[in-house]
Amino acid sequence: MSAAAELPEAQALVDHGILSWLAATDHKRIGILYISTVFAYFVIAGALALTIRLQLLHAGMTLVGPQAFDQVFTLHGTAMVFLVIAPFGFGLANYLIPLQIGAPDMALPRLNAFSFWLFLFGGLTVFLGAATNGGAGDAGWTAYAPLSTIRVGDGLGQDLWIVGLLMISISTIMTAVNFTTTVLVYRAPGMTMWRMPIFTWEMVATSLLVLVAFPPLTAVLAMLLIDRRLGGHFFDPAMGGSAILYQHLWWFFGHPEVYVMILPFFGIITEVVATFSRKPVFGYTGLVLAAFAIAGLSMTVWAHHMFTTGAVVDPFFSGMSFLIAVPTGVKFFNWIGTMWRGRIRLATPMLFALGFLFNFLLGGVTGVMVASPPIDFQARDSYFLVAHFHYALGGGSLFATFAAIYFWFPKMFGYRLRERLGAWHFWLLLVGFNLTFFPQFLLGMMGMMRRVYTYPAIPAWSQLNALSSLGAAIQFVAVAIFVANLIVSTRKRIPAGDDPWGGYTLEWTTSSPPPELNFERLPPIRSERPAYDLRHAAAEARS
């Protein structure tokens, strides 16, 4: 397959340097821009998390006051959900999808770049609120009405939070359009949909979810802004509006959003587990169907976040929420089946994948627990819930993020990260993460509420909070080791070669890093493991 590589009069705007990144439309550059920006936001969100843990180290700490604490957890949650986890998936997909399907670039390269810059500006706008008189948005990452419709002072911080998220939602919808179009139209000859890598399939499911879920987000944010700025009363019960309407609209977006934050990472884990088990993916069709079952069911469970409002029919949402555990369980069995009787190599990506499996299992199982309304009535707004979603998103998506970075970094940059530092990073993160969040299950069961800036001086609570804060400090050290790994590996580069891991998918058949337009030559595609087929064809030809 050839592509129109250059127009006759085309000249490079800027050949090298920082400015060339401003004009980048190549999907690989945009993917790296996304991942770098995500990492910067991750550092900020992590610092906010450390602030929370320091404030809660002992009862009665006065590191930050109550209003500042509200801003801290709001920005932490907003940044992690909208600026770190989901965008990392999009950034990685930007880099990988064309490579995995044999395309020269995304279908809409300039729209791709537009999406990135709008995402960047949206994030900056959210944080800009911290520089205003009243501080940043402080109504939580969910910004429930009527708390978020009340303007305190000039209210600029909350308004900037809203408009920042509006930008991010538009950017994300554009990205989903791009991914869907690229996968449907730009696959290489022979790359049927049922030969695509699982990561690409997961991104198709993710894009479908984005197309369904982000328009309601855009709508609810616009309605909120109208209520705050233009005299609207959408969410004002005194004037005929409804605060519950806000929650319906928010969670109709919000629950698919948490699957937007996990489906790409399921894809990452599948690729890593298969490669390092040295076996084909077990149950390829089941994994694909499970992804779409999860995507479909996720659109029907939104009001399990509203059990305690009394305004929704709990049994319906409880039943659907239990049901969604089934395709997730199918995926788990498929991953285990992939590892079964495999020749497992415990390289750093595989360590993080195994960590994912352990952590996400805890997060998922506790999710099934809170899908039961009687348990949810107790756990709602407690630290049990905080622990649940951190195990799913932090222990799940974050570990898969690092698995992806260690796995695909050699492809992106042509040199490896250090394995020994990677192992230290993994073990410290695993210990630190579990030390941070497991005690929070216990705190929640003891009755400690979330979003509180201090707590009563109950000895058990103080001890568990201290343990949790110690875990956060260990996680900080782990991330510092990761940064050190990046620096050390970049200073003294060990060339990675085209295929350092013995991968299965098409990106491993091209050079590291790939050339412009991705492939000098595409191999024939006859299965879902074209790189493996190519290696074996070459070996047979040699023998």
Partner: protein, 129 residues
Amino acid sequence: MKTGVGLFASSMLFAVVTAIVYGFATRDVVGVMLLGMTSLALFVIALYIRVAEGESGLRADDPASSPADGAGDVVGTFALESYWPAAAALCVGLGIAGITFLPGLSSAMLLVALVAGALVVRLLVREST
């Protein structure tokens, strides 16, 4: 592309069935509306892909085809570099944020001013595409 049509069409059917079951189970208007609009959106996407499929003739969907079969095909035009996405994102971002800072001033006027500024910059800077 048949698979693509199938994906969106089956998702649409699922949303329709869920909307009906949900409506009977809960009598909640908001949820029915949301699921109904979701199914409508999925229907539009599935319909578009179905219509586009007839004209596409994608080699990718032929399991026996190989990249050599597509040699010489013009896949598309890929702009190598462009400042326009960043400039457009800045304009859109400032236009949206302008709602907050300048409620009395129409954000559309701000957008026009920024687009005009971008055109001036374009005249001064050599653009390749």
